[in-house]
């Protein structure tokens, strides 16, 4: 038994068919618990008032936005090295989810920033990096859409994901040098004592778990759709040949 067994699309479909309903239900429950807890059972912040509660959407969405790209990079590398189609399709499936998460992070940040910083948008390094990340997602999705041959598309988008990762990281540090930021430091960290107060911390962690479950659910669901679309194409091609 190894994880590579599920690189077989049939096995993947069978497993995901069984797991998906549970995954979906679990992510719905965890999200519901985290958001209700966060929105209705935490106190208002001393200075920020109730706007602080955007954190329960903003921070998890931002984490998913970055990690979705990392997941796409890993899946692309697996495709390039081991040629597992499920891996390539999972990368394709994750891209729109990641792009939407980036958008959510940007929009919730703007909604929070208007009363707090007095502006919807500032050219702060973090905000700028997220906008750049969004551009990278758009390019990646557009390249997938533009190429007809699925294997060529998978190969080229994988190369783009690798080169894009290098330049996305470069842009992040370039933006840091370019402008001083308004954005506060990390809300969560493993090694520092300084992070959000406990009343916010536990619902936030729950929300992050919920978002991760949601992300996995969506990616599995979309990968299944891609596999089905691929099968449909093969069937149609066979039919037109006969």
């Amino acid at each position: 038994m190894s994880i590579w067994e599920y690189a077989n699309p049939v096995r993947f479909m069978r497993l995901s068919d069984r797991v998906l309903p549970w995954l979906a239900a679990l992510s719905a429950i965890v999200m519901l618990v985290a958001l209700v807890w966060g929105f209705f059972f935490t106190p208002d912040d001393y200075r920020q008032g109730s706007t602080v509660k955007i954190i329960f959407i903003h921070v998890p969405a931002a984490m998913i936005a970055i990690n979705a790209w990392v997941m796409m990079l890993v899946a692309s590398l697996i495709w390039l090295v081991r040629r597992h189609h499920v891996s390539a399709l999972a990368a394709k499936a994750a891209a729109p989810v990641g792009a939407v998460m980036t958008m959510i992070a940007l929009v919730t940040g703007a909604v929070w920033g208007e009363p707090m910083w007095g502006t919807w948008w500032a050219w702060d390094p973090r905000l700028t990096s997220f906008l750049i990340l969004f551009l990278f997602y758009l390019g990646y999705i557009a390249l997938w859409a533009a190429i007809d041959n699925p294997d060529t598309a998978a190969d080229l988008t994988s190369v783009l994901a690798i080169v894009g990762s290098v330049f996305a990281v470069l842009s992040r540090y370039a933006a840091l040098i370019w402008n001083q930021g308004l954005h506060q430091g990390a809300s969560l960290s493993m090694d520092r004592a300084e992070h959000v107060a406990d009343v916010f911390y536990y619902p936030l962690v729950t929300a992050i778990v919920g978002f991760i479950l949601l992300f996995v659910t969506l990616v599995v669901l979309r990968t299944r759709t891609e596999i089905r679309a691929r099968r449909l194409r093969a069937l149609l091609a066979r039919e037109s040949r006969e």
Binding site: L143, A146, I147, V159, L160, V163, F167, L170, I177
Partner: protein
Amino acid sequence: MMALLGRDLALALRSGGGFGLSLAFFLIVVVFVPFGVGPDTEVLARIAPGVLWIAALLSCLLSLDRIFQLDWEDGSLDALVMAPLPLEGVVAMKALAHWLTTGLPLTVIAPLLGVLLDLPGPAAPWVFLSLLVGTPALSLLGAFGAALTVGIRRGGLLLSLLVMPLYIPTLIFGALTASRAGEGLDFLTPFALLGGVTLLAAALIPFAAAAALRINLR
């Protein structure tokens, strides 16, 4: 390889279009800026280094699809892949030819056009030097984007969408070098980083672009 470089240069110079076109575009963009922001020389002087950089970057984008598209259409790209040359070297030469016909002329006339924008005196040499160091990266990254989109009909817009985010570090460091030099601040740090980005692109991109070409010609 030198023969390839010579051929590409001759093609770019004689076929018309490419060479003069990006220079004319550069001129037009720079002329348009005062119409857009008003003729106030103080404002223009402040934004001049950034405007010159953005205009150079856009003019560079214009001619990118020519790097591989024509060779792809008439089949000579297949011959180049079959030739006993490393494909990485072919890509590097193609990027160099693009730079010699686009980046270098843009670099040379940028300080002259700076006069139109009231570019501050101390910034002028650094606009020139930062473009000189930075534009090779633009050509290289553009060659990568062109290699990705070579098989796509009317891929020009997609090419821009793919290449623009890759240009961000070069643009940031390049424009920062020029504008800091104009304000008399420390500009050597961004200048060194700009050189670093170009060297990184020179080391990395030929391989990535060659891989993309091999996939497209499979």
